[in-house]
Symmetry: C2
Amino acid sequence: MDKEGAGMAEETECMIDKNVGMDAENVESSGNGKEMRAVMLAGFGGLNKLRVTKKVMPELQDGEVKIRVKACGLNFLDLMVRQGTIDNPPKPPLVPGFECSGIVESVGKNTTGFEIGDRVMAFVNYNAWAEVVCTPAELVYKMPDEMTFAEAAAFCLNFVAAYLMLFEVANLREGMSVLVHSAGGAVGQAVAQLCTTVPNVTVFGIASCFKQAAIRDSVTHLFDRNIDYMQEVKKISPEGVDVVLDCLCGENTGKGLTLLKPLGTYILYGASNMVTGETKSFFSFAKSWWQVEKVNPIKLYEENKVMAGFSLLNLLFKHGKCSLVRSVMDKLLCLYEEKKIKPVVDSLWALEEVKEAMQRIHDRGNIGKLILDIEKSPTPLMASDSTETSEAGEEEEEEEEEPEGDNDSKERMPFIH
Amino acid sequence: MDKEGAGMAEETECMIDKNVGMDAENVESSGNGKEMRAVMLAGFGGLNKLRVTKKVMPELQDGEVKIRVKACGLNFLDLMVRQGTIDNPPKPPLVPGFECSGIVESVGKNTTGFEIGDRVMAFVNYNAWAEVVCTPAELVYKMPDEMTFAEAAAFCLNFVAAYLMLFEVANLREGMSVLVHSAGGAVGQAVAQLCTTVPNVTVFGIASCFKQAAIRDSVTHLFDRNIDYMQEVKKISPEGVDVVLDCLCGENTGKGLTLLKPLGTYILYGASNMVTGETKSFFSFAKSWWQVEKVNPIKLYEENKVMAGFSLLNLLFKHGKCSLVRSVMDKLLCLYEEKKIKPVVDSLWALEEVKEAMQRIHDRGNIGKLILDIEKSPTPLMASDSTETSEAGEEEEEEEEEPEGDNDSKERMPFIH
């Protein structure tokens, strides 16, 4: 059941109405003061918990960089934050978002390596979806001259995650094979590109049917997510694959472990199957946790298999592996400059269109990355229902169905390629 | 409760009595015929299930090498075989043993790379503890000239396992840290030596108290197995270790995972805690399996951790990774010839002393490898009880206690260094 799609256009319009005067032009003037536009999550739940509001700018701390944001990355994880289906989320209201690109506006005391005017991309521990972001300098990276802000906002999280999983956790080498779920997503596309940097790597991609034409060339073998992919993989490679990258969890964990060759590595790096479209988030999360099949280490021993978990955000914000990530970023920027990798941007959205963008990622309609473009004006909508009075605390999504990959819904969305 | 030590001397004596005429001299003549001496396991259970008997020599098959055995390796796994606490053991009676060294006596059709008279070491899928062994050529490796047969029998399983775990599964690199249980055992000593081939690797070893003086120099930090090693490791390295190598299982799995740094790897490569000293083997195995705490993949995701299982025997005999193992053996033999690694041999035993040898490894009395030396005569024992009539199907071990590391028991055992 997918309840999220309903009433979206009305909400977006309503949001714009409420924030009249918050368009790109006025932002410039408000930016000179102490206020900024930001996406605010009022509480965990459905799309209606999101608003664009004015907010006091963050104060620059020692060791931080203040960035005038140009573009922000939107990840599946942001949906899980919205629903509260992540471990220990901060208490709302909060500004979501973990990555952005922009221009350095000022640098804090004891901050070295950056100057005002530098074009940068950065990780942020929440608060990325705003016009101004402050984040520790160790999480900020200079952008190559030829990189656009949209590309930069699509670069950090997905490529660093893909690189660390393939080369740090799974130790990908010549001749190996990789199975990746959501091959059309931003991580999937990053994985596919990084696999081409190693000779003779076979990539098995799984993606929704309608994406197949667009991403067929990015992987070696492409399967529809609705078929029995285990059987298809085994037809091609009876002994299985060396690496499975799973962002879905649930039954795919068992399937992934089964598909591994001896000494192969299964990596769980997300749990998007936990997002059910419902908004009873905590219970849904707890239920999913218990429904995940636990693995007996003796089974791994007998089968010579490796099971790993990977969360880049925890690595950065809980486990403090910033210098490791910087060394990875250096390697990735070399690969970018050698034109061996290039982020795939699905679409650009105004802050006010965050709900539509989120719906698109929820429906897995995207190919590559969704970007919130700070300077973009929302696509005008027809004036209609202005009596919308729903409260943030309520669940007003209707029961209407919006089929995954619905073409009407896609056509009204902005694409940049 | 340790019931295995009791009645050992009597049994050995009895075994020699029963096999009168089976000493090294007579073996030579029997070797020219179709019979050979071998250790036979009559059924799963205690030490009394083992006998030295005459047995028809194996017939050489296509692609195989026939080896006149000089020395065999004795591993903890052989105890588990004896007890039946391994997965899918063959039906007894069987000849145990997975590795040996010796001289090529003949080569089968379609066997290339070996000539009669070659000094070799080999893996065998059971049947190693015999005077003559046939095994596929892909599992046979030429010995360096300077390597003794005892060293060769101590080399294959432990060094290949240690190498694959450190470099294939865990991807050990400069500056990392490794925790190894049973640091005084043959794998532990191989791990410690291989770690010295990488710059700046810290090795935390855990071993029985009485071994500490002997192995202190082989590791960076050494802890007594009876203390709270987690606390001790955290005192030295508060953020934990990069690699945990665990051959014990049980509660050490949870402790090992907890001790890992982010992106660290826990490898279970044995389950010696399953060997209880009792002989109700199957139930003990089943019970242990269920008692092992299963791991939620989402926990690994949140903590950025890797859990692996490693069984070299399954890799070789179930998963057919012979060419990988050969490439590892090539690297190991280079390291041996560069004098960077050298197998530690604990002691040599006659076939007729296999029970005492097994008791020693059960009691974890060994430092390094126990070797069955085919040409060695058993240490003479005093004539005493010749009325011993116990049946192989019964459990006659008495309830006498033989404390772990008992000095009297150690003193009567043969050491070669």
